[in-house]
């Protein structure tokens, strides 16, 4: 019975998202991965006036059998630099995806909440401690880093030659580009410390 509700709900919600204004404005999108309604692919646009502006972030959405009485399992598949999202796994720390989930919420409200999370981070309740620390201690550095990640992984417009140059210094030494970016981001773009960490 529960599964019936889940499938029925997803079909209805799917229509709701497609018809919604946000889709018309291209700010959210949902696609079925296969016909089963168990796995979906979501997409949200980086909100304006944030380091994520201009980026497109892809989400993996898994619908549990007990949906909508339990929340959908959502994570970012696009790499992102954000205090409440793991830079490694894309796992999200957001109350409505955990204990604050309510059966009356929908995929649309979840996607909009995630978009809101991108504009207003909660650094005191972090998923990624390294990012949260940078966010609180060096806000400008955080902004630069997040912008850089948006352009590197989410198709963001801002090129940052200075940061790219530092990454190139490491890739020239044979370091994988993503590893180089992670190390530099984690050490506030201090080339020396990042190098030390990679080769230790």
């Amino acid at each position: 019975m529960a599964t019936n509700i889940a499938a029925q709900r997803i079909k209805r919600e799917f229509k709701e998202v497609i018809k919604s204004e946000e889709v018309a404005q291209c700010s959210i999108k949902v696609e079925l991965v296969n016909d089963s309604c168990v796995e979906l692919k979501g997409e949200i646009a980086g909100p304006p006036d944030t380091p994520y502006e201009g980026g497109n972030f892809v989400l993996e959405i898994k619908i549990p059998e007990t949906y909508p009485f339990n929340p959908p399992k959502v994570r970012f598949t696009t790499k992102i630099w954000h205090p409440n999202i793991s830079s490694v796994t894309g796992a999200i720390c957001l109350d409505i995806l955990k204990d604050q989930w309510a059966a009356a919420m929908t995929l649309r409200t979840v996607l909009l909440s995630l978009q809101a999370l991108l504009s207003a981070a909660e650094p005191d309740d972090p998923q990624d401690a390294v990012v949260a620390k940078q966010y609180k201690e060096h806000p400008e550095m955080f902004r630069q880093t997040a912008k850089h990640w948006t352009s590197a992984y989410a198709g963001g417009p801002c090129k940052m030659p200075e940061l790219d140059e530092k990454i190139r210094r490491l890739t020239d030494m044979g370091v994988d580009e993503h590893n180089a970016r992670v190390a530099l981001s984690s050490y506030d773009w201090d080339l020396e410390r990042a190098t030390e960490q990679i080769f230790s």
Binding site: I5, Q8, E13, P68, N70, I96, A102, A103, A104, M105
Partner: protein, 502 residues
């Protein structure tokens, strides 16, 4: 326990002690629990409450408050739970403080302003119109929709599903909120019981809401045995044995198995110690030494006795004498520096810690051993039952063979007491009375082992007549020795004889 039961209980007790007559045992079997007959329990009145009775007790508490505050009972329950069932605190806040704030904090709609909230929130629907349920998105007739005072409405089957998920998966009872997003108004028990159809879920819910009631209430304690849903209610809290209807006997004060003669505080300390150390410390004692400087534990995995501590202190020392390595030079193999002052200090320190460990292991082994035996005696019950049946075939009457069961009962009691005497003894400082205690303990232990041997090995259908007398004498002796030991310890508590090592 009601008065009728209590008199029955007293009768049996005195009957056993004075006469030891076979006829009494027939009555014993009816009471069926060995621990229930312990003579050393002074009267300690208690009641066993089933889940329904706990609910009733809770309802009575709610009524008490309700006669004063006059709001719906379901709201009162939520308020009482908010104040951890402290009636006085609730009354105080209800009459002295800001009531609106009180209701908001407890996540209920103020019953005095309810009607206005309803009109504000609920959409006006004609009776024959349909509404869309916000959970399953089906358009349903209004009669199938329902909601709380907050005005959020969903269809009854979604409500049922929602509540079931909360109760069965998340184990939430008292604090299930409305299913709408960001609405924190709590679902009251009347609505839950109305919306849930499955009796299993209902039972779990009842248990969940009673759980916090029992846990907040000093005079109530859950029976700790697995799968038992009863609670014990007492009139005052004391470290005394109580027996649940499921036959489990435990200490009301701490919830552990009944542990006379040791006190709750020391037993808790002991259990923690056992959990921390046990076998690991045993192995460490046998196979390692400590670095004489930083005391890190070292396992020797090679032949060389020139040790260099790897725990960053880098001390160089001799494994054999624990003295510094330097003076050993090249003649390490016949370590001839035994009297070196440094080495002596290091060895003394180690001997001391090892002695403490040895002492703990001594008591721990005996404690564990009796615990293990106690588990085996439960098997003895079934083998004794077989023997009793066999004897009845050999023209003995039912009454005549009951002594065997009685003997196992006593054996279990003695084992349990002995087990806890080792905890008591571990923390006890030596004095004249403690020597006396140890004599009592030794006496009881040897008599208990003897009884155990009779029951496990020596009974055959041929020697039954002799052995019956022997067994009866022995268990009476054990029982009396056990009482003597416990009384001695209790007297010591009263007269302040016992000094503890902690």
């Amino acid at each position: 326990m009601d008065s009728e039961e209590e008199t029955l209980y007293d009768d049996i007790d005195s009957g056993n002690e004075s006469s030891g007559d076979d006829v009494d045992f027939a009555m014993d079997v009816e009471s069926s629990n060995p621990i229930e007959r312990t003579a050393d329990t002074d009267e300690y009145p208690f009641e066993v409450l089933s889940t329904e009775e706990i609910v009733q007790h809770m309802v009575d508490c709610i009524k008490d408050v309700n006669t004063v505050v006059e709001i719906p009972a379901t709201t009162t329950r939520i308020l009482l739970n908010h104040f951890k069932w402290d009636k006085e605190k609730l009354m105080e806040r209800f009459y002295d403080g800001d009531q609106e704030k009180l209701f908001t904090e407890a996540h209920v709609i103020n019953p005095f302003t309810k009607t206005s909230a309803l009109i504000k929130n609920r959409p006006q629907i004609k009776t024959n119109a349909t509404e869309e349920c916000g959970v399953c998105f089906m358009a349903l007739p209004a009669s199938m929709m329902t909601g709380l005072e907050c005005g959020h409405r969903f269809c009854t089957s979604c409500w049922g599903e929602y509540l079931t998920t909360k109760i069965m998966e998340e184990g939430v009872g008292q604090t299930i909120a409305c299913a709408a997003h960001a609405c924190d108004i709590l679902v009251d028990d009347a609505n839950v019981m109305r919306l849930i159809k499955d009796s299993k879920v209902k039972l779990k819910y009842q248990h969940l809401i009673t759980n916090s009631f029992v846990e907040c209430n000093r005079l109530l304690r859950w029976c700790p045995s697995p799968d038992c849903n009863n609670a014990i209610k007492v009139q005052y809290v004391e470290s005394k044995p109580v027996t649940c209807k499921c036959n489990h006997t435990f200490c009301f004060n701490c919830g552990e198995n009944w542990h006379d003669p040791v006190k709750c505080r020391l037993l808790r300390k002991w259990i923690k110690k056992c959990d921390d150390d046990s076998e690991t410390s045993n192995w460490i004692a046998a196979n390692t030494k400590e670095c004489p400087k930083c005391n890190v534990t070292i396992e020797k995995d090679g032949g060389c006795n020139h040790m260099i501590c790897k725990n960053s202190c880098k001390t160089e020392f001799c494994w054999v004498c624990l003295g510094p390595w330097q003076p050993h030079g090249s003649s390490w193999y016949n370590c001839n520096r035994y009297d070196e002052e440094d080495a002596k200090v290091a060895r003394d320190a180690q001997e001391k810690s090892r002695a403490a460990l040895q002492r703990y292991l001594f008591y721990c082994n005996r404690y564990m051993n009796h615990m293990q035996s106690l588990k085996f005696e439960n098997k003895l019950y079934s083998s004794v039952k077989e023997k009793m049946e066999e004897m009845q075939q050999h023209n003995m009457s039912w009454i005549e063979v009951q002594f065997l069961k009685k003997a196992v009962d006593i054996l279990c009691l003695c084992r349990q007491t002995l087990m806890y005497t080792y905890v008591f003894a571990y923390y006890l400082q030596k004095n004249n009375q403690s020597v006396l205690f140890e004599d009592n303990q030794r006496d009881l232990e040897s008599a208990t082992e003897c009884l155990s041997e009779y029951l496990e090995r020596d009974i055959t259908s041929e020697n039954l007549a002799d052995i019956k007398q022997k067994v009866q004498d022995k268990y009476r002796y054990c029982d009396s020795r056990r009482k003597v030991l416990l009384e001695h310890v209790h007297e010591g508590y009263e007269k302040d004889w016992w000094d503890y090592l902690d």
